[in-house]
């Protein structure tokens, strides 16, 4: 990309201290931890039942490095939003501690608020309010001068393809525009870390893809660390550098999308052969592959899992040729995050 056409360029000209560190500048900064949580816990009083509590989040440890896009994936009610609200100072943890952008969550929540951006799934603007008014009044709460707020707001809007909406009312925007406006609101004070709660919920496929591009750009061009919750596996998969999977108030797995898929269920190889006898012999051969599980044969089709389908396939085909078996069809299927979740919890994310 040419530097001249850099959409976030004007912001980079601000004093160095205000600018987030781009993730590719040097090694030391890449490994900076921006969120460090230990044993974060939250329980709520159960309604109706005396003294009973519901543990929404049961002691979460997590760490996020500066410049990462971390996806917090889990089904509805898993504790994603509760965890996010704790990290954003909207909910006091029942127990545990966290440091967010260098400030202690419990001892100095106001400093945390100054340093983070938060984009709620409920939105951030009144439908009757004009876009510019909301941006300026929000910026003023961070002590930002009106003129600076106007300039910055317009630049951010332009960067998110919303250049012409300054004088429109928020209620007149489309769902995708409104969501991007929420992101502009969350970025107006130039936080190094921004939390996005279910960013693409309720958007049509085109607006989603567009939003994802903008979120990537945020990290790639501004160096903003992004922590997002989602219950869409495709969203977590395509956006995140790293995924934390939460279920029932605890983190059950974490890793890059590729790592998670590889670690949990491996790839599925499906062989189609000419005869059932060939299938039986192929199953024996397949079972001898390193890391393969017990193959399942159905008529002339054999199905089994290996940790890495791409490297197992040439070996398998070589072995089959040596044994004089001619496969008429081979399929390698990479697992989805839903497979991962299913293996980990015994339930589908879609439930």
């Amino acid at each position: 990309m040419k530097p001249q056409s850099h959409p976030f360029q004007p912001i980079r000209r601000l004093p160095a201290a205000l600018i987030a560190v781009p993730n590719n500048d040097n090694e030391a900064q890449v490994t900076n931890t921006i969120i460090e949580a230990k044993g974060l816990k939250r329980s709520f009083k159960a309604r109706g039942a005396k003294g009973k509590t519901i543990d929404a989040v049961r002691g979460i440890d997590l760490s996020v490095r500066e410049g990462e896009i971390v996806g917090f994936l889990g089904p509805n009610g898993a504790g994603k939003t509760t965890t996010l609200k704790m990290l954003c100072t909207l909910l006091t943890p029942t127990d545990g501690s966290a440091t967010v952008v260098g400030a202690d969550l419990r001892r100095d929540p106001v400093e945390v608020r100054r340093r983070i951006g938060y984009v709620s799934q409920a939105g951030s603007t009144s439908p009757e309010a004009k876009v510019g008014e909301e941006i300026v009044s929000h910026a003023r709460l961070y002590g930002i001068d009106k003129q600076v707020a106007i300039q910055r707001g317009k630049e951010l809007l332009a960067a998110l393809d919303l250049a012409e909406i300054w004088d429109r009312t928020c209620g007149s925007l489309s769902g995708g525009q409104r969501r991007r406006l929420d992101i502009v609101m969350g970025l107006i004070h130039q936080p190094r870390l921004v939390f996005l709660d279910e960013p693409s919920t309720g958007l049509d496929p085109q607006s989603r893809a567009n939003l994802w591009n903008h979120i990537r750009k945020l990290r790639d061009e501004l160096g903003t660390t992004v922590f997002l919750t989602t219950h869409y596996m495709d969203e977590a998969d395509s956006l995140s550098d790293r995924i934390l999977i939460i279920d029932n108030g605890t983190i059950v797995a974490e890793g890059t999308p590729a790592e998670l898929k590889k670690r949990v269920s491996g790839d599925t190889i499906t062989l189609t052969l000419r005869t059932e006898a060939d299938a039986a012999r192929s199953a024996e051969i397949a079972a001898r592959l390193t890391g393969a599980d017990a193959p399942v044969s159905e008529a002339n089709v054999v199905r089994f899992h290996v940790p890495d389908g791409a490297t197992a396939l040439p070996v398998l085909l070589g072995d089959l040729t040596k044994a004089g078996i001619d496969a008429i069809g081979v399929d390698v299927n990479r697992p989805t995050l839903d497979d991962v979740f299913l293996t980990l919890t015994g339930r589908s994310l879609r439930d």
Partner: protein
Amino acid sequence: MSFIRDTWIIFRRSMVLSLRQPLWVVIGLLQPILYLTLFGPLLQTIAATSGFQGDAWQVFVPGLLVQLGIFGGLFVGFGIIAEWRSGVIDRQLVSPAARTAIITGRTLRDVVVITVQAIVLVSAAFFMGLRVPVGALLIGLVLVALLGAAFSFISNAIGIATKSEDALAPMVNTLALPILLLSGILLPMTLAPAWLQMVANFNPFKHIVEALRAVFLGQFDAPIVWIGLLLAVVLVVLGAWVGSRVLAAQTK
């Protein structure tokens, strides 16, 4: 003084939004005039009863002013629920703004709206025949502003605590009805049987109405005037305390 700065920012935003809804401004201004024109004439005969001192306007306008303060404030909670639903409250809570400013800024907007309505009301009453000292009118406006602030704090607090119009509506009505019936706003409590008068004595608004009526009769140094003003101030403090407690509890 970040509290004052933040209150001002939140107030300005709310005020601009209120002014953008001209229909509500007009309805808000029309209401007191409707009271005067459609209800005032009825009062001409009632004012002649033994329970009241002074002419109909001196009896009726103080009652209307107190009522305006109470009801003008009580219903603002619906607005804050709508704001919460569109994410504005959480957005402000996650900013470094002073917690109390988030509710005080909105209450201040309500006070301005209610005071403007009160000014319209006394001006209209003047044209219909209200003749009282300017000082009395000023005390009346201060009292309306204080009551409006107290009830706006409380209504905003209930709104933000319940986050449900279905919960707010019955609560507001339950609060409003005994206050209205036991205040002597529409009829003098001297017409009531002894037990009812006793009960009414526990209603601070009865004393506030009496205070304002005394002021409208030119009795500025009557002890009831100080009692009424003091009660109104206490209510504001109480409302502000409840309001900031509820706001602080939002992130607990």
